[in-house]
């Protein structure tokens, strides 16, 4: 569904990605794990057209989307929930969700998806008219995911959805990720919480200093000694 080939990104003089290649199969949950600065976020940002790759190709559904405008990429039902949630705190919850469907025209299907988001996150329904900035971190994360779902994604990418959230809410978020996946949305996930993300992943890539250091099935990596020592702290 999504294929990244030999992706290179430079930030000024810094060579942030040094030839990353990934493959995301339809219907799966794939995760990227690795330390800070390994290049996980940069990879997702480059896929969304927020960073310009200096070399490499990004193929989504058999189309080359390298260097395409972000708007076009969103239109092709590929979306990113950015790190740190980034909800529009000055807008109401409802308005945030409506903006998720900014490029969509079919009101009926927008309403359907709104209902779907409210079913997934009942709290958002209760807080529709509230300004997003007044909600707790966990609720804002739910809104960020809900807003992304309103773009009707085929592939949903999430950057650290559990960052800074209480353990109970983290668990809840991971359950919802699984649920969204079961409804047919492919997921590409970045996590610091390597254990929780490997447990739900079909396949995972371990990134280190801008390169793919290891890859394999989620459960295999979970039991891999090297990964255990470096990322799982056991």
């Amino acid at each position: 569904m999504l294929r990244v080939e030999d992706l290179n990104v430079h930030y000024g003089g810094i060579h942030a990605l040094r030839g990353i290649s990934l493959n995301v199969e339809k219907g799966k949950i794939i995760s990227l794990i690795g330390a800070n600065g390994a290049g996980k976020s940069t990879t997702l940002r480059a896929i969304m057209g927020l960073e310009k790759p200096s070399k490499g190709k990004i193929i989504y559904e058999d189309k080359d989307i390298t260097n395409k405008a972000t708007k076009e990429i969103v239109k092709s039902n590929l979306v990113l929930v950015p790190e740190g949630r980034r909800v529009f705190t000055n807008l109401t919850v409802k308005e945030n969700l409506v903006l998720g469907a900014y490029l969509r025209k079919n009101q009926e299907s927008i309403d359907q998806d709104m209902q779907w988001v409210f079913d997934l996150f009942p709290i958002l329904k209760d807080r529709q008219q509230q300004k997003a900035g007044t909600m707790s971190g966990g609720e804002q994360q739910m809104l960020a995911v809900g807003r992304a779902l309103m773009t009707k994604p085929k592939l949903l990418m999430m950057d650290e959805p559990s960052l800074g959230l209480a353990p109970l809410i983290v668990k809840n978020i991971f359950e919802i990720i699984k649920k969204i996946n079961q409804e047919g949305v492919t997921i590409l996930l970045i996590e610091q919480n390597a254990k929780a993300s490997l447990e739900i992943s079909d396949y995972a890539y371990v990134l280190e200093t801008g390169q793919v250091f290891m890859k394999g099935k989620g459960l295999d990596l979970l039991n891999n000694e090297e990964v255990k020592n470096a990322y799982l702290g056991t």
């Binding site: 972000t70 708007k71 239109k75 950015p82 909800v87 000055n90 308005e95 903006l99 900035g133």
Partner: protein, 297 residues
């Protein structure tokens, strides 16, 4: 001050205040989206007035058509300014954009001297705007009534766009977070274009009404109203449309009432605005309606 003089001056104050409000909205909207004080806004306002003048005098258009053309051309002019002076600096430090804005302001002023001439031109005022209305012992020129009415209509329309439409939502989203807005598929450059277009259109409407009120046109005429309306926007809380309206009315009211109460100070008329700016910056730097809430991250 007797009661009649008070009402007379109150009408003037509301009229001037609504004019300030119109222009202040342009500053505040552009600031909200670009975090840029568009110092060329006063020159866009001046441009609008001159276009209306030439449309009526050189092209002999009826005032309605002339005003419409002036608004349209001023919007285009505002968009050109944005394209030429601000868009190339989109990823530059804010200071560079501000310097560019100041430079653009000087450039347009001086071009106007060359093209329009430095001598004052007299703006033709149609009878509709120049009729004296008598209410008891108070007599007021009709433009004094028309200005606040036009401002109110424009304001309702504008607030509808910003608060209720999807484009308005996109504008508010862009003002908060460019990148998150792009991730929703919003074309940030398009939103900036719309914002500049609306701001320039309001400047043109303000400029035309200014010409009807003070029918002497000069290339530098945008400077002082521009600065004052910037101050009005800051007083109200820059970035906030309702704040710009409050700031505009407040500035108009204080300016007129102070002169009416203390005629000896008439010469310092323009200085009040700056005193007010300093006071506001000392007491409440975020402005009257500016919010400074801690946001969760």
């Amino acid at each position: 001050m007797d009661i009649e003089l008070f009402f007379q001056q109150l009408a003037n104050a509301i009229s001037l205040g609504s004019l300030y409000a119109l222009i202040a909205i342009g500053y505040t909207m552009v600031y909200g989206i670009l975090r840029l004080i568009n110092f060329a806004h006063g020159e866009i306002f001046m441009f609008g007035t001159y276009i209306a003048f030439y449309a009526m005098t050189s092209f002999l258009l009826p005032w309605g058509g002339a005003f419409l053309i002036a608004i349209v051309l001023t919007v285009i002019f505002g968009l050109l300014v944005e394209r030429a002076a601000y868009k190339p600096l989109r990823n530059s430090p804010r200071m560079s954009v501000m310097i560019s804005a100041i430079g653009t302001s000087f450039l347009i002023q001086n071009l106007a001297i060359v093209i329009f001439g430095g001598r004052p031109k007299s703006f033709p005022v149609p009878d509709l705007f120049n009729t004296v209305i008598h209410l008891g012992n108070i007599s007021i020129v009709s433009i004094t009534f028309i200005t606040p009415i036009i401002t109110a209509i424009v304001l309702v329309f504008l607030l509808y766009i910003v608060d209720k439409t999807k484009t308005g939502m996109a504008m508010r989203a862009v003002s908060k977070d460019y990148e998150a807005a792009r991730l929703m598929g919003i074309d940030v450059n398009w939103v900036i274009t719309i914002t500049f277009g609306i701001g320039s259109g309001l400047a043109a409407i303000g400029g035309i009404m200014w010409g009807l009120k003070y029918p002497s046109l000069l290339p530098m005429m945008g400077l002082m109203p521009g600065l004052k309306c910037f101050i009005a926007a800051v007083i109200g809380g820059i970035g906030n449309i309702r704040g710009a309206v409050v700031g505009g009315f407040l500035l108009g009211l204080i300016e007129i009432m102070l002169i009416a109460a203390l005629p000896a100070l008439t010469g310092y008329r323009d200085a009040f605005a700056f005193v007010l700016l300093i006071v506001i910056l000392l007491i409440k730097p975020t402005g009257i309606m500016g919010k400074n809430i801690a946001e969760k991250v």
